[in-house]
């Protein structure tokens, strides 16, 4: 399964990232490279700083210290949109899908394709003036009848103002959603990733958890994701669905899109990740090539080796328990 051609130039580099919340240091000096085509498992106990770290590279939080390099250039994000514009896409557990809409509408959520015959700006101007000119003429004439010149000026102003408000209100009437093209593009996007969904016209609500995951992933890829961050993608999925999502993650990597996957599930991490980065109490305590390490070692790094020994917890027991470490 793992046969990715990892090139040596990192696409995303985080250098000594630090984030503090008041007196609490959530993430301290964590560095991290992501190369094209690799899957990185980011593991750690609850409160280890995984989410905070991810939120810094996806633009939700601004680091207090440290730098982020994307494609060799230093970048800083004011908000998540900046990161997304560069191609750093994050899929959270809630997937950000509108369940009442169909698959195509979700892939194009907020970026709907439109039938092109007039731009929104132009249509606003036309509709505004279509309303504004007659209204202004009418009100100006009325103002003149009742209040002479001041009436004329006031009428003119009111007429123009209300015309422009009506333009704001109805200007978007010309922006027609092109459902047919959206459906076609969605079909292609799903096919490229070997995702099977019986009918693209049905509401996302009627899809299974794994299919929804796939829709969210396909959306990110369609919009040119260059790095994917996935937060617990297999939580709340059935076993066969989990397997499908994991193989989709591998497909992404094979297409050259690196994936950072946060997971509690050791089996998942070992099934897909090329490298595993372990955080503990805000610090990076290890970075292992998954082919050369064992779940036991990762777990002991996650909880701190000395703790394991002190408590007498046998790491194998953790693993055989469905591999859930640090619930």
């Amino acid at each position: 399964m793992k046969k990715s051609q990892v090139s040596m130039e990192p696409l995303l580099r985080a250098v000594n990232l630090t984030k503090r919340f008041g007196g609490l240091v959530a993430v301290e000096n964590v560095s991290f490279d992501v190369r094209p085509g690799e899957v990185i498992g980011l593991v750690g106990d609850n409160g280890a700083g995984k989410s905070t770290f991810i939120k810094m590279i996806s633009g939700v939080y601004q680091p207090d210290d440290g730098e982020i390099y994307f494609d060799g250039k230093k970048v800083s994000f004011i908000d998540p949109r900046d990161a997304r514009d560069l191609g750093i896409e994050t899929i959270y557990q809630d997937l950000a899908l509108a369940e009442n809409l169909d698959v195509g509408s979700n892939i194009f959520l907020g970026r709907e394709m439109k039938k092109r015959f007039i731009s929104e700006k132009l249509s606003r101007i036309i509709i505004s003036s279509a309303f504004a000119l007659p209204l202004a003429a009418l009100l100006a004439w009325l103002g003149l009848q009742f209040y002479k010149i001041p009436g004329l000026v006031l009428g003119l102003l009111f007429g123009l103002a209300s015309g422009f408000v009506l333009g704001w209100l109805f200007g978007s009437v010309t922006q027609i959603v092109d459902r047919k093209t959206m459906m076609g593009e969605s079909t292609k996007a799903l096919k490229r990733l070997d995702i099977e969904i019986p009918s693209l016209t049905q509401q996302v609500r009627n899809l299974s958890g794994g299919q929804r995951q796939s829709v969210a992933i396909a959306r990110s890829i369609y919009w040119n994701a260059k790095v994917m961050i996935m937060d617990e993608p297999t939580a709340a999925l059935g076993v066969s669905e989990q397997r499908k999502v994991l193989s989709l993650v591998r497909t992404l990597a094979d297409h050259g899109v690196p994936v950072i996957i946060i997971s509690h599930n050791m089996q998942d991490v070992f099934a897909v990740a090329d490298r595993i980065v372990i955080l503990r109490r805000g610090r990076k305590v290890g970075e292992e090539v998954s082919a050369e390490t064992t779940p036991d070692k990762i777990v002991s790094l996650m909880v701190g080796a000395e703790t394991v020994h002190k408590m007498g917890v046998i790491p194998q027991a953790l693993e055989s328990n469905g591999g859930v470490a640090g619930a």
């Binding site: 950000a96 509108a98 809409l101 959520l109 209300s162 009506l166 209100l169 019986p198």
Partner: protein, 370 residues
Amino acid sequence: MTEMELSTTKAAKKTRAERLSTIRQIWPWFFLVLMVIVFAIISKTKNNVTFISYRSVQGILVYATQILLIGLAETIIIISGNGGVDLSVHYTLGIAAVISAFIMRAMYAANLPPALTIAAGFSGGILFTIIPGWVNGTLVAKVKVPPFISTLGMGYVMYGVALLISRGQAISDQPNYLGQIGNGNLLYYWPKHGFSWLKIPAAATQADLQHIIPLVPNVVAITLVVTILIWFILAKTQFGQHIYAIGGNIQASIRSGIPVASTLTRAYTLAAVLAGIAGVIWTSRFTSGASNAGEPTLLFAIAAVVIGGTSMFGGEGRVIGTVIGALIIATIQYGLVVLGQQPYWQYVTVGVVVIIAVIVDQLGRKMEHS
């Protein structure tokens, strides 16, 4: 379960869900037909009146216009979800009626040309509603006041202002051509003489009047045009698509870059403008403007929306559903009048229909998603 089996059950489930949702969308039509038949039988056997007639259809359509216009406003707001319901539209209707009547009374008294008086009165009434609509939208979208509260407050403000302008009384003394618009027809058919637009043919004498058939009441034509516009906006445009998306998942909408605040503000303004149109129609039908013009309509309109299958939780609903809901309520109102029953029965009947509608809707949904 193999892959094949899994995908076939999925496909079966999908067709079943689709079939059920079709039933859910069609049942109000059957209900309407059933109701017409029941009214027809009762009125024939009991009062010996023919219920199914051209005149009844026209009467029902005219009854339905106000409920439908306010219902469309509620449809937009309820689809936008997140607790969205506009409790101010009936008072917005009232203030539009009062302001248009106020303008037209003044202009009529000043002997200004009829066309101008009508134009100024109508546009004045409708344009004014942009203010409460925009304030509602801003309160909901930017200040994040729950829609229930902000529209309730705005409604009372509008009611108060309308009372102040009208001094608590209906504003009458309207030009008589106003009534011709509100109660006239787009087209009249005089057998053997042909059609005439907008006016009863001048050659007709008093005795001819009963032979002239009025076709398409003006208010019905206006409402039809507005309904098609709203259907187009909700079903076809990007703005409509965004309203559904916001109603389905506002967080996802924000994250996907939908301009949520501006979309919601425009939705509330649009709803108020619809109420304004209903207001000036009211003024032209009754040739006066009253602050309580829309009073009974709000709950009937919400009932029409619910009967039409729009989900109160947002994200789902169609204009055609609201149309059928409004027709059902108008048929009940009109039918009771034809039967000579006390009109108060309409509240009992509409209440029962709404409850049936919600039960059918929920059963349908439960079966679809099981």
